[in-house]
């Protein structure tokens, strides 16, 4: 065999190993969620969809999904707005305290999330706010909005300032520049930031643990069930959560080509 072929096969094997390492645990949970036995063991004797039926009928599970969804959706919208304007200040405009602002924005990302969650919980207590899933939104934002800002800032860095100047030169007001030039050009970044915000909030555990109070988000419930009172619904709910993420990513990937096709048709 030619030596370069050996190298290539080796590379493929290495790639497959990495993928297996990443995805096998997920696949195992997938099998567990359709197995009749209470605990996962191979080979699976009998397949069933009963856990999914139970999960979807269960009021607890639908509550979990609903709370997680609300938190993630609200965090996503606010992060996109804050991230958009934050990114303009971060990357587009020159102002006096820009460097300081850039550092301060980055700081929460590097904080250990559990410390951040604890700090916020203590702060909520001090102010006299009872933690619920509403307060979790604030906690998520402290960590996620900076990430959204960074993602949009990357896009804003490659933005030619002359585009805004040209728009103004041709008669645009500040608001028109924002609507006609800045926002459409940063839109890919804003969408990416929204996607990340949703996924990071949807899967977040440490911040939610400290700040949701009596309410439970999906990751919290999974953890609670693992610690005490394991239920065969655990892998099922886990799979439902993964499925939601996959659907969202799929939509996000399918969106740009669809938008492109739509705009091309309309301009012809």
């Amino acid at each position: 065999m030619h030596p370069s072929n050996v190298g290539r096969i080796g590379l493929y094997l290495y790639g497959i190993l990495i993928l297996a390492f990443l995805y096998l645990p997920l696949v195992a949970i997938g099998f567990a969620s359709v197995s009749t036995s209470r605990y996962l063991s191979f080979p699976i004797r009998q397949y069933t969809t009963q856990w999914y039926a139970q999960a979807l009928e269960s009021g607890t599970v639908s509550d979990l999904l609903w709370i997680s969804l609300q938190v993630a959706a609200i965090v996503t919208v606010i992060s996109m707005v804050l991230g958009f304007f934050g990114a303009l200040a971060f990357a587009r405009y020159q102002w006096r305290y820009r460097r300081l602002y850039q550092k301060l924005i980055l700081l929460p990302i590097f904080f250990p999330q559990s410390v951040l969650g604890l700090a916020l919980l203590m702060w909520f207590n001090a102010v006299g706010i009872t933690p619920t899933w509403h307060t979790a939104i604030i906690a998520h934002l402290v960590w996620i909005a900076p990430i959204a800002t960074l993602i949009i800032a990357i896009r804003a860095y490659s933005f030619d300032p002359a585009l805004e100047e040209a728009a103004r030169d041709m008669g645009c007001s500040t608001w028109q520049i924002l609507r006609e030039v800045t926002l459409p050009l940063l839109m890919p970044g804003v969408v990416a930031a929204g996607l990340f915000s949703f996924l990071l909030s949807w899967g977040n555990f440490p911040l939610s643990l400290f700040t949701t109070g009596a309410d439970l988000t999906l990751p919290e419930w999974l953890y609670a069930k693992m610690v005490s009172g394991y239920s065969p619904l655990v892998p099922t709910v886990g799979m439902l959560s993964v499925a939601a993420s996959i659907v969202l990513v799929a939509i996000a990937l399918a969106l740009p080509p669809l938008i492109n096709r739509f705009t091309r048709n309309s301009s012809d």
Binding site: D160, A162, L163, E165, A166, A167, R168, D169, M170, G171, C172, S173, Q176, E180, V181, P184, L185, R264, S267, D268
Partner: protein
């Protein structure tokens, strides 16, 4: 767009001074469209623009030329309203506009980067100023198609993406968009600088042609003198935030007011006056006293004697000229229709001689050769 096309004379280097005079009144019905009075701009103590005064006629093509850092970009940004002046006035016809924001000024600029919107098609880019003004979509489209025609782009480019256009096509789109705005004055900030030589040459001529067809006032910034000479009626040479000289291209080329302008305006041979004693003499060359007297050169003249390479000739044995020197031909450069010789004089000074190709001479390395020119083809730069 029904302003009378300005009158232009054919260019040629035959009689520079006469043409320069003829070009001075640039337009038949010239009336100032722009008046700049004592304009100053400082950035944190640095003076970018130091008292600029300028009057531009309606329909004129003015080029502002200068090395980088001379203040030309600052000037144009002040004129379109993207920067605020430290002091001074800008008048457009009868109204003062220096405190009017950029989006309310009836001026438009073609940017160096062109600033075409990458998220819009060619047609949408051209229509943009009309859209902002709230013009009906059907009218907008009709106007955009008209403008595509004017800048010589095919109609089907209307739906093309900017990314699909070549550099030259983008120039045309940017120009069409600026024309759609229908500005009183159209500004250009070196839009051709990124293009390759051939395309640039072609677009320079097209731009000049477009200027004539639209009758608009163009103010064009460039660091390329050639570009300015090809296109403009008048050229302003900028240096450290001031106009060093302002006049028709021919005048600035043939009669520069300073060494800076002479050297900036292309290759030049300069000989400094010695000015000692009662005779007229210059460094490196001998001047015929009778010719000097006839030219009005008096002893005590201080300044430079200037001769463009095309005014200098290689002398045949025994041939005379008002100004002469002897040197050794060092190299020969073929420039297509012209040929250039570098002649090193005994003093070490190198004289550049440019002849048309038919007058090319044969020479041996190290061969001694006379160079010379007559005073009526030379220019005297009086020291200020």
């Amino acid at each position: 767009m029904n302003i009378a096309a300005p009158v232009r004379l054919p260019a040629g280097k035959a009689d520079l001074s006469r043409q320069a005079e003829a070009l001075r009144p640039t337009h038949m019905n010239a009336q100032p469209i722009l008046r700049v009075v004592d304009l100053k701009k400082t950035f944190d103590g640095f003076t970018a623009l130091d008292s600029v005064n300028l009057t531009v006629d309606d329909g004129e093509f003015l080029a502002i030329v200068g090395p980088s850092g001379s203040g030309k970009t600052t000037l144009i940004r002040l004129l379109v309203g993207m920067e605020e002046q430290t002091s001074g006035e800008i008048w457009l016809r009868d109204s003062r506009i220096d405190n009017v924001p950029a989006n309310k000024r009836p001026t438009c600029m073609v940017f160096q980067s062109l600033a075409l919107f990458p998220h819009r098609s060619v047609g949408e880019n051209i229509e943009f100023p009309l859209k902002i003004r709230g013009v009906d979509p059907a009218l907008r489209r009709a106007r955009a198609l008209e403008l595509l025609d004017l800048v010589r782009l095919p109609q089907h480019y209307y739906g093309k993406r900017i990314q699909q256009c070549s550099g030259g096509e983008r120039q045309r789109v940017a120009l069409a968009r600026a024309l759609a705005f229908d500005p009183e004055i159209l500004f250009f900030d070196e839009p051709l600088s990124a293009l390759d030589f051939r395309l640039r040459k072609m677009l320079e001529k097209e731009l000049k042609d477009l200027h004539q067809r639209t009758g608009k006032t163009f103010i064009y910034i460039t660091h390329s003198l050639e570009e300015a000479m090809v296109m403009s009626d008048r050229i302003a040479i900028m240096r450290s935030g001031r106009f060093e000289q302002l006049g028709p291209a021919e005048e600035i080329y043939a009669k520069p007011k300073s060494r800076f302008v002479a050297e900036f305006m292309g290759e030049v041979n300069l000989f400094r006056a010695n000015g000692n004693g009662g005779t007229v003499s210059f460094e490196h060359v001998t001047v015929d006293p009778a010719a000097a007297a006839k030219r009005g050169l008096r002893p005590g003249f201080s300044g430079d004697l200037m001769a463009r390479p095309e005014s200098v000739r290689l002398l045949k044995p025994g041939e005379r000229a008002d100004v002469m020197a002897t040197g050794i031909v060092e190299s020969e450069y073929l420039l297509g229709s012209r040929v250039q010789y570098l002649v090193r004089l005994a003093s070490g000074y190198k004289v550049t001689v440019e002849l048309s190709r038919e007058n090319r001479v044969t020479w041996e390395p190290g061969q001694s050769m006379g160079v010379g020119f007559d005073l009526d083809r030379a220019h005297l730069i009086q020291e200020a």
